[in-house]
């Protein structure tokens, strides 16, 4: 399969694989080690919630804006959560200005599915007037530096930002929603953590770096909720995986998730 790679990635892959064979990675990490995670919340005052996450050198800023809008037709008494990702050109020479490409759409959709499947917030509590007005929670993922594994970093940042988010309180007067001065917490019920595993040759590594992502065969992102259940899977990359490999990756993710979750809960 090596002929599917250009010459530079091929050399890079060879070097990475040689290092992996010794049980270490290019940056000195073990195969199952995450890079250092640091979380800061509440850094954008104009946003209803915000968080900045560093995962090694990967840097993601998430802003939560909460507005009011119409509910979806099929869920008239539930609030709306919208997730969007921007790969801003400051983050990498490979990012160009313009409409979101498939990678940023994937990132937003995978994070979105994680939040939605685990029902991080009680959507029925985000209803103001059934069928007419509901809260619309915008989760905007802003990639400020791309050094690999954007999904996990973004998922952590989204949760950290949502946990600190305050929603404006509306009161109903004559069937109209009127904004009050009051604010109340959004109340996050669950913490679905995304764990991304890359397969390089025969090795499985968690939290792939940008170099590892460039040469990996396949990638599996597994989102695990607080009870150890799986709420999102996303396979990516141009190689297949066997059933045993999938099971192995899922087990790694389930094992790894509590460690990441503890970082989020310990961040305040």
């Amino acid at each position: 399969m090596s002929s599917r790679y250009g010459i530079i990635p091929r050399l890079k892959r060879k070097k990475i694989q040689e290092t992996l064979a010794t049980g270490k990675r290019m940056d000195g990490r073990g195969l199952g080690d995450y890079r250092e995670i640091s979380i800061r919340t509440g850094i954008i005052e104009k946003a209803e919630g915000s968080a900045e996450v560093y995962l090694g050198e990967t840097r993601v800023l998430v802003g939560i804006k909460i507005g009011v809008g119409a509910p979806f037709e099929d869920t008239p008494d539930e609030g709306v959560l919208v997730c969007n990702a921007e790969f801003v050109p400051v983050a990498s020479p490979a990012f160009e200005p313009g409409p979101p490409d498939e990678k940023s759409i994937e990132l937003a959709r995978v994070v979105d599915r994680g939040l939605r499947s685990a029902e991080v917030v009680d959507f029925s509590k985000l209803c103001i007037i059934p069928g007419k007005k509901v809260y619309v929670v915008h989760v905007d993922l802003y990639i400020l530096n791309h050094a690999g594994n954007l999904i996990d970093a973004s998922a952590v940042a989204a949760l950290a930002a949502l946990r600190g988010a305050m929603k404006p309180v509306y009161k109903i007067e004559d069937d109209e929603a009127v904004l009050t001065e009051k604010k109340e917490p959004l109340k996050v019920r669950k913490l679905p953590v995304a764990v991304t595993i890359a397969k390089i040759g025969e090795s499985f590594v968690v939290d792939p770096s940008a170099d590892e992502e460039e040469v990996m065969d396949a990638r599996l992102t597994v989102t695990v909720d607080d009870d150890g259940n799986i709420c999102t899977l996303q396979k990516s990359g141009s190689e297949g995986l066997t059933l045993d490999e999938i099971k192995k990756a899922i087990n790694i993710a389930v094992e790894k998730a509590p460690e990441i979750r503890a970082k989020i809960t310990g961040s305040e």
Binding site: E102, I105, G228, I230, C231, Q234, S236, S238, L241, L243
Partner: protein, 240 residues
């Protein structure tokens, strides 16, 4: 499979068994202008796929010097769902186009056609749940029909959970009302899963069972894909 799913009173909305596929009809060579094509009906899904290439890559700067570039497009007709949807590609369409590419790439000898492109276009004419899987099934047959050398066929179907039970090949209703949906694509001969997504909630054990269930479904679809191809080329029975 496992005994705990034994049926008592419970029934699926269309009366199928828990591990039964919807009726599938595949036809290859349906578009005269395409190099390869296929039409699939999977339940009430109606999907047409066309393959163009290998051909010179346009725009040229996207060409790769050592292999062909596979380009996939998943698109839904405005009338394929209720209510009408805009014909402009949605974010969902973009994501599915990408995972479709990942699902098909491992099967194709792309390295044989440097500097070229192989374009796979799928159009959903009517949607009934599981369209991405049906599109992959049709695209595979269309790729073979175009004479593109492949390592294996890619078959796809979903497994999931509704009313606490695991089921194969979710229809539209089961997809919307169920607790989980696991679309999967699989190359039976190479024993590799090339598409795997999931949303909903499943325990680790249920997840593994769903993957196994979907793989069994793919093996059945694989046979139907082969039949469709043999039929087009007038092969009645395989030589032993």
């Amino acid at each position: 499979m496992s005994p705990r799913k034994k049926k008592t009173k419970w029934e699926r909305i269309d009366g199928r068994e828990w591990n039964e596929l919807r009726p599938i009809r595949i036809e290859s060579g349906v578009l005269p202008n395409a190099d390869g094509s296929a039409y699939i009906e999977m339940g009430r899904n109606k999907i047409i796929a066309g393959v163009f290439g290998p051909k010179e890559m346009h725009p040229k700067h996207l060409a790769k010097p050592h292999m062909a570039v596979l380009r996939c497009r998943y698109h839904m007709a405005p009338f394929s769902v209720d209510p009408r949807r805009s014909p402009a590609p949605s974010r969902r369409d973009n994501e599915i186009s990408m995972v479709m590419r990942y699902a098909l790439e491992p099967a194709i000898f792309l390295e044989r056609y440097p500097r070229s492109s192989i374009d796979v276009y799928t159009e959903v004419l009517q949607a009934d749940g599981g369209t991405r899987c049906a599109c992959i099934n049709a695209a595979t047959v269309a790729l073979v029909d175009a004479g593109i050398p492949m390592r294996d066929l890619v078959a796809a179907c979903a497994a999931g959970k509704i009313d606490g039970r695991l089921i194969l090949d979710l229809g539209d209703y089961e997809d919307k009302k169920g607790q989980a949906d696991v679309p999967l694509a699989y190359m039976p001969k190479l024993d590799k899963v090339t598409l795997l997504q999931m949303d909903g909630t499943l325990s680790t054990e249920e997840m593994e069972e769903c993957v196994g269930l979907a793989i069994e479904g793919c093996k059945q679809i694989y046979e139907m894909q082969r039949e469709a191809l043999k039929k087009k080329y007038g092969i009645e029975k395989e030589e032993p």
